[in-house]
């Protein structure tokens, strides 16, 4: 049972953004995805989630072919993600932002909600408790009732992760979660990601902070110009000459 891309390719207007890339994410594994700008990381990520269709190749989630499955359906199959630029609902509070993450777990249907049947209040309570718990574990509980727009950058990023964790996904795709974070915040992020993986969630970490990636990943894939140039353990990849030449070398 994995989240896998097998020999996937995608072109935009004749230019290949991703060429023949394969990647496999196992539950409980932290898999780093690195590469210079324009290497195809975001395109691959968007294909895995379903925001972009695959031109060639295969995408499977726990054995099922998901190439034609819409984003929302893949989310319901256990795929969660955070975004590079946080996409929070600014006019709502932090806890509301996190609670929406469990949309697929909420039981009452439209009519029950409209009629405010007792099951609705019970469900609200249940999900609110879960949201508070997750926020507490991330250290954000005190900010629960603040509107998302007044939160700082790091808090917004962590809130997105909290939202993605609400339905207890099997796979979590993080898009540059360390971007704009201080060293202390990155260290916190690292501990959080390790805890998530230790619980059995497969984490794909798309990142530019290569030190951070090598430190916490179990495996790393490096992309350059749409192709995979190195796959392996952090030790292997960080010393790979091609990777150094294309990405790590300057500095």
């Amino acid at each position: 049972m994995t989240l896998s891309a097998n020999n996937v390719s995608k072109s935009f207007g004749g230019v290949a953004a991703v060429s023949d890339v394969s990647l496999s994410l196992k539950p409980g594994e932290i898999h780093g995805l690195i590469g210079p700008n324009g290497s195809g990381k975001t395109t691959l990520l968007n294909m895995l989630c379903g925001y972009l269709p695959v031109d060639e190749g295969l995408l499977t989630l726990d054995g099922a072919d998901v190439r034609g499955t819409p984003v929302a359906a893949r989310a319901r199959m256990g795929l969660g993600r955070s975004f590079q630029k946080p996409r929070l609902l600014e006019s709502l509070t932090l806890i509301d932002n996190v609670m929406i993450g469990a949309w697929q777990d909420h039981k009452p249907n439209f009519f029950s909600s409209m009629l405010a049947l007792p099951s609705v209040a019970a469900d609200e309570k249940r999900l609110r408790a879960r949201a508070k718990a997750i926020l507490a574990t991330l250290g954000l509980e005190a900010l629960s009732d603040r509107r998302a727009e007044v939160l700082g950058h790091a808090e917004q990023k962590f809130t997105e992760i909290a939202r993605a964790l609400m339905p207890r996904p099997r796979y979590l795709l993080l898009d540059e979660p360390a971007g704009g974070l201080t060293t202390q915040e990155i260290e916190r992020l690292g501990r959080i990601i390790r805890a998530i993986a230790a619980a059995g969630v497969g984490v794909l970490l798309v990142e530019h902070h290569t030190e951070f990636v090598f430190e916490i990943s179990d495996a790393v894939t490096t992309l350059s110009l749409g192709k995979v140039i190195a796959v392996g353990s952090p030790a292997e990849v960080s010393t790979d000459p091609e990777v150094i030449r294309v990405y790590l070398g300057n500095g």
């Binding site: 975004f83 909600s113 991330l138 005190a142 009732d145 509107r147 609400m166 619980a199 059995g200 969630v201």
Partner: protein, 334 residues
């Protein structure tokens, strides 16, 4: 959450409304009864339209067309086909619900501006067809509306029926807004991409709310027809669509109280202005412009009083509790 009881302003408005509703039949004359009934009926439409435009997002400016369909459907079913009024009301509402669904379909394919103009076109097309199919609709001369038989035949009883409909609509909207559906709608409005990533289907949300808004517009239409006794195509001029839409924008998107007050004020405006009523639409336009330029969030946030952002204790994030996090996530989806 965007609920009602967050401030004293809201409680005050609610009590004031209840007072007006209770006292009008006692101290007011038929004109006052009619006016309050009209506000109630407009609110039946505007409340669910608020869920659509204010919460879910699509800019839909043609709902006088839906009101017209509801009104004419009720009138035609009762006067031309002899249906019982009590059956015709929900039937008209259901028909309008379907029309609402159809109206919403283009929003799935067309970008915002395109869709907005489609809704304007819808309003004009409905008006055009009301005039054209004269045999059915009475054309420019309009139709006489039969009263409800039995219990609700009198203006006083009709008043209570309208109030009941308004209360029902308010409750439904309030219930939806303060639960997961409320968050769902706002997610679809503010970030479809994020919404999809948590398993929301924006398509299903939009179509559901379009149908809901259509259904209640149809209900409002039937009640409107009963109130007016006589309906003409010009009752449903595009200016009325503008009025509904502007109440919501002025009141604030993501709010229920603001649009309610907006609806009350804008309904009363022509009545209060007397001979200056011809300036009503002009004033709506000016107010809309002022609100958009100066208070893009509408008046709602001001009315809600204390902002939620001032609640909560600590200022900064605390240390993560990784053991507890792990425990929470173990045994997730299988």
């Amino acid at each position: 959450m965007t609920g009602f009881f967050r401030s004293r302003t809201q409680i005050a408005v609610l009590l004031l409304s209840l007072a007006v509703v209770a006292l009008t039949p006692i101290f007011g004359n038929l004109y006052h009864l009619h006016l309050v009934s009209l506000i109630a009926v407009y609110w039946v439409l505007i409340s669910t339209l608020t869920l659509l435009v204010g919460y879910t997002g699509p800019i839909s400016i043609g709902h006088a067309g839906l009101l017209a369909i509801g009104a004419y459907a009720y009138t035609i079913l009762t006067s031309k086909f002899g249906w019982n009024g009590y059956v015709a009301i929900p039937s008209a509402a259901a028909m309008c619900g379907l029309c609402g669904l159809i109206l919403g379909l283009p929003s799935l394919r067309l970008p915002g501006f395109y869709f907005a103009l489609t809704t304007i076109a819808f309003s004009l097309i409905v008006g055009e067809n009301l005039l054209a199919w004269g045999g059915l609709t009475g054309g420019g001369t309009g139709l006489m509306v039969p009263s409800l038989p039995g219990l609700f035949a009198s203006p006083r009883a009709l008043y209570w029926l309208c109030i009941a409909a308004a209360v029902l609509a308010s409750l439904f909207c309030y219930n939806l807004a303060r639960t997961m559906w409320g968050r769902n709608m706002i997610a679809v409005r503010d970030s479809e991409i994020a919404a999809q990533s948590v398993g929301i289907s924006p398509l299903r949300t939009k179509l559901t709310i379009f149908m809901l808004a259509g259904f209640f517009a149809g209900l409002a239409g039937a009640l409107y027809a009963l109130l007016q006794n006589y309906i003409l195509p010009e009752n449903f001029h595009f200016d009325l669509s503008l009025f509904f839409f502007i109440s919501i924008i002025i009141g604030g998107r993501g709010e229920l109280l603001g649009p309610f007050l907006g609806a009350v004020v804008l309904t009363l405006l022509p009545e209060v202005m007397g001979s200056l009523a011809q300036y009503a639409t002009l004033i709506y336009g000016v107010v809309l412009l002022l609100v958009v330029l100066m208070l893009p969030r509408g008046l709602g946030p001001m009315l809600r009083g204390a902002f939620a952002s001032n609640k909560g204790t600590g200022e900064h994030a605390e240390e993560p509790d990784t053991e507890r996090l792990k425990a929470l996530l173990v045994g997730g989806k299988s």
